[in-house]
Chain length 301, copies 2
């Protein structure tokens, strides 16, 4: 059997980003952490971590992390079941990958009741919606919300619904850049907002609605709330989730640049195929809530 | 002289996270990108990128990126000066590292006027406040907002002010976990929120106000808005920037668990020591705005 203390050390080093921080997290000395990692590597006959700063798991390390997280989850549930009812049991922590726009809107309300009922905590990792499944494949998380529509190996996936994005700007911005419409000349001049270098929602949208394939000046902002704030300040136009705009359209603070045109982005919930009642409850909570807040029709191709 | 086309290819590969994406970004073929990187490496006699996925800059690569970003900035300004007034000049894009709580609150309003006046765009990278200067040192950004109080080599640093954090929870949460006060027993049971494995603001606070050095159950949430939302939902207590709580205290939605106790986190603006009027204007804008919204007294040690 693998020694769970060694796996715990590996997990702490990867999560905290260093041997010294892992030591502090586990209340051990740094040399105790190094020793556990070394023993694990000797046992397996291969490295589990790159000695970079921060250390990164090797392929073997990633598989071990995935295994350790499933193990922790199962053990947490077992203890919750075994402990007498009156006794305050420990919290269970589940690592999940959530796309930024879901985290900014519906994720926390969706899991609120379950977290309180099952004494559940989350270690939320955030990424672009097309990349959250990489967090799962790399063993960092037990489940993820993203755009991938097929299960990853060893996992299951469920359709949650579509998040709808509208193309918005302030009236001043629209008058300044789009007075002649959504033309190629305007798109080459008007600052847009993108989430990161990995984000191609905006360029896909321009290709789709305007056949525009050129470059566009842009602000890079790694938070959905930054998109909303920068758009409201008139610094750029952007695709904003309809769930994030309050009364901006009614109040006239923002204009829909292309009424009737939008992006419906299908989101999926991925989790490992593991028999765990907590994982099952989480799927139920997410799917139930998503049915209320996300659009349930898949967009036409 | 270094070939700027090669540097541009390096920058695109690092920013977009791959040779294929860099090719798309620069409207080149992937083999053209590979060739430019290879020529750069042959010219320097050493690798500039690790062939990992995503590729990361080597030490030499980082220095080149830093150089390239300063070069781009200076060239952008030069062109803005040289082009006739009537001609619509290109935007200048500046990469900056901003701590999450500043980005969530005062950063965008502080730069709004400057962005419009100087046709400036930002490539914002976000990190924990203790780590933004690493983005600068690694050559990813031209400036950063963080907690480091001494200039990094080749840079300057200016005190912006302190962000004040209050320790808040819903009345229900306070009654459930802190009915007997801010005791060690309560702290071992009550779920807190931390930003990431690198974030130790919360544990520092517990050490300082309660002499508590043990572990604490926690939700990991990588967005300041997630902190606010989870705290309002009663899922945890947390340290929230006073700039992010609306009327929560007045309305009784949230309670201050330790009235009169708080964390004042000093923030600094770091930038390269480079003669550029745009960089100077940015410093002026940030320092001027920060004087209005951040607390100007340094906390006692």
């Amino acid at each position: 059997m693998l020694d769970p203390k060694q796996l715990e050390a590996l997990s702490a080093v990867v999560d905290s980003g260093g041997f010294d921080k892992a030591a502090r997290k586990l209340f051990l000395t740094q040399s105790a952490i190094s020793q556990r990692i070394r023993q694990l590597e000797e046992h397996l006959g291969q490295p589990v971590l790159t000695r970079t700063s921060p250390p990164a798991p090797t392929t073997a390390g990633r598989l071990l992390l995935q295994h350790f997280r499933q193990l922790s989850l199962m053990e947490g549930e077992l203890l919750n079941t075994l402990l007498p009812d009156g006794e305050q049991s420990d919290f269970t922590t589940l690592a999940v990958g959530v796309n930024a726009d879901s985290l900014a809107t519906w994720f926390l309300p969706a899991v609120q009741e379950l977290m309180q009922r099952r004494r559940l905590l989350f270690d939320v990792m955030m990424d672009d919606q097309d990349y959250t499944h990489e967090l799962m494949r790399s063993g960092h998380v037990a489940g993820c919300i993203g755009t991938r529509d097929t299960p990853i190996q060893g996992g299951e996936c469920h359709f949650l619904g579509c998040m709808r994005y509208l193309c918005l700007a302030t009236p001043d911005f629209a008058a300044r850049y789009f007075a002649d419409g959504f033309t190629h000349a305007a798109l080459a001049q008007a600052p847009a907002i993108i989430f990161s270098g990995k984000d191609d929602l905006h360029s896909q949208f321009l290709r789709q609605v305007a056949g525009y394939d050129g470059s566009t000046p842009h602000i890079t902002l790694p938070t959905p709330q930054g998109f909303v704030q920068a758009t409201r300040l008139g610094l750029a136009y952007s695709l904003l989730p309809e769930l994030m705009i309050d009364d901006d359209l009614e109040s006239g603070r923002l204009l829909d640049l292309l009424p009737g045109q939008y992006v419906d982005l299908p989101l999926y919930w991925h989790h490992w195929r593991v028999e765990s009642s907590l994982a099952g409850d989480l799927s139920t909570a997410l799917l139930g809530w998503a049915r209320q807040v996300l659009r349930q029709q898949l967009p036409e191709r």
